[in-house]
Amino acid sequence: MINIPGPASKFCDGVSRRSFLRLGGLAMGGLTLPDLLRAEQAAGRSRSNKSLIMVFLSGGAPHQDMYDIKTEAPLEYRGEFQPIDTNVSGIQICEHLPRLAQMMDRLVPIRSVVGSEGRHAAFQCLTGQSVRSQPPGGWPSLGSVVSKLKGPVDPAVPPFVSLSPQMKSRTWSDPGQPGYCGMAHAPFTPNASGTADLELRGINHRTLQNRRKLIAQIGRLRHELDRNDVIDGMDTYYRQAFGILTSGKLMEALDLEREDPAVRDRYGRGSAEPAGYGDAGPLMNDYLLTARRLVEAGVRVVSLAYGRWDWHGQPHGTNFENARDHLPVFDQGVSTLIEDLHERGLSDDVSVVVWGEFGRTPKINPKGGRDHWPRVSSALLACGGIRTGQVIGSTNRLGEHAETRPVHFQEIMATLYRNLGIDVDATTINDLTGRPQYLIDHVHHGPLPEVV
């Protein structure tokens, strides 16, 4: 909570003694921003601009209906979609992903992801770990690790941001837990409940809809405070916190009204409403654009939940009806993000991973849906300087299990860490008992040799 006090007995010119700016936690895991900054100050930091955008497909996307159409399976397994050629000879993906098909040379679909713990949760995608047998303090998410080891690129920009909204399912809306890295490395979550507490005098959170007006008012407020010598009374960390909030860099990155409308249209915009029935991540292609803006502004890791992929069938639509709803939007958003990163010269520095918590049952159920299938799932990698234009792994004829080159969640994590300049063989962070913990099981898993 930041309280900006005014003079003892009278109102400042334009500023009252009452706190004018209350940020309910800035959704930094309950720590105030000044506390966060103090914690960051406690360790020296190196600076680099390698970054990651992680798109979490909440619910478990059907692996056999996206990158791995099982053309030789009977219809009750294969389903209703046809494969289409991509711009890489020999690779075919779902007919409802035509844009991604035309940029397969820039992608790496992994058809054989194994090791899922089978929970409806973002945890394993965010940490690479299981919730079972965690070390004291808990496994930190990749974003928190990067925050701790690398620090911010720019003091005005948090190193780890999650764009996931708050959902009823906390495990889906998990923005990334800091674990034993400490609360200082929790993500900034502008779309979660913290923004509901954002209040400026005369402005409430609804005004965030018009961010330009908000930034202008912050600017006037800052001018008033400077005039009244209020800032000088704050300690270093309040000043820094105030600087982050008012420097504009983060808020400008979040403010899509500053973006060319044609670019927003190209991404597809989308809706902040839950994507599927009940609880869900949004099909919000604007968040993919925001992620690009954030990494440009210096955020090292951006995570976001996207869509609802838990398609068990009627009466909430069949697997294929939901896929026809989600896949075109997904295709437009993800392909545009990757194109955009290439066009802006960011493709070597920014890694992209798109994945979910598990795959879906090979045999279509009587309600026209597919149920949970932790045995195998799929993932998509792009950018980050990896070797693209290839598929890794395969499943058997019915899509039941990895047949060639099973890829563990932690191999993908090791690859992402490596892209971010972190060597999982040599890097440890102490847990809360002081015991050094490797980031993953580095003895058995390392970066994917196929791509690095």
Binding site: E80, E273, Y277, P315, H316, G317, R324, D325
Partner: protein
């Protein structure tokens, strides 16, 4: 052949149902976004949103006087809405699983609902009570319809059968078998003598109500047929399908008259306007489309 689009009405999620008011001035659409939206037919303007159901809304009907609306939801309840205030007047409970369909008798005094608890229930909306529980389906119930005179209720479902029940005493009058897939939609002709059924087997069947005999099977959709509806004259039949098309048929000959493209996902419901000049369709693509069916609006497909 294309039809001219008059309005595209959107929801935040799949649209499961669309219907006209009896005076044709308004439409109601029901959605997986848990709401019912009311629209002005002449302009396509959104009039209001009815919120309160806790899960997707699968069906809605305007009462004949236009002052009340009935709805059914996956939240296992039906609701009676006051359209002046937008408030729920009554909640009808009894089903033990997702309700998937609802129909209203022509006089507006009875409702029928079908659910994944395999039951068909008849209701008196004025009291909110169940008047009959019709048990017999061996699978989920997917569709219900009242005969025009209100004496019969037709239901269909995952057991591939259509059952005709007496609305008076709840007896099973007849069981129609022949579909090789789930029955997804049923509709009585305006004269009550014929019944149309839509099925996951990709066909529409026409049945003689009195004898239960299958008269015709209409083939033309390239996927599951999700819904079927006669127009008010009985001379045309509309259907909607997983293949995203709406088709218009001549029920006397079985000939396909029109195939209307525009939706991007399964068509879940079709409804003719009271004057039969307009058709509304509801789709999983999050929209309802209102189509003009007048002869001058029939254009060659582009």
């Amino acid at each position: 052949m294309a039809a001219r689009i008059l309005h595209t009405l959107t929801h935040n999620n799949a649209v499961y149902w669309v219907t006209f008011s009896s005076d044709g001035r308004r439409l109601a659409s029901a959605s997986l976004d848990n709401t019912i939206k009311l629209w002005e037919f002449s302009t396509g303007k959104h009039l209001s949103t009815l919120k309160g159901h806790g899960d997707g809304v699968c069906a809605a009907s305007f009462a004949p006087d236009g002052k009340t609306l009935f709805s059914a939801s996956l939240d296992k309840s039906l609701r009676v809405w006051n359209l002046s205030s937008g408030a729920t007047e009554r909640t009808l409970q009894g089903h033990q699983n997702y309700i998937t369909c609802m129909a209203m008798s022509a006089d507006g005094k009875s409702l029928a609902s079908g659910a994944q608890d395999k039951q068909v229930r008849l209701w008196d909306p004025s009291t909110g009570t169940t008047t009959r529980v019709l048990s017999g389906h061996t699978g989920f119930v997917h569709c219900v319809a009242f005969s025009p005179d209100g004496t019969l209720v037709a239901s269909g479902g995952f057991d591939n059968t259509i059952r005709l029940w007496s609305a008076m005493d709840g007896r099973l009058a007849r069981q129609l078998e022949g579909h090789t897939g789930a029955v997804e939609g049923v509709a009585f002709a305006p004269d009550g003598k014929s019944l149309a059924s839509a099925s996951a087997d990709g066909t529409i069947k026409l049945w003689d109500v009195a004898s239960g005999a299958e008269r015709q099977a209409l083939q033309g959709h390239s996927g599951l047929v999700r819904c079927v509806r006669f127009d008010n004259s009985g001379r045309r039949l509309a259907s909607g399908s997983y293949d995203t098309t709406v088709k218009i048929w001549d029920p006397r000959t079985g000939r396909q008259l029109q195939s209307i493209r525009g939706h991007r996902n399964t068509v879940y419901a079709v409804a003719f306007s009271p004057d039969d000049q307009t058709l509304a369709s509801a789709s999983f693509d999050r929209s309802s489309i209102v189509w003009s069916l007048t002869a001058r609006d029939r254009q060659p497909a582009r």
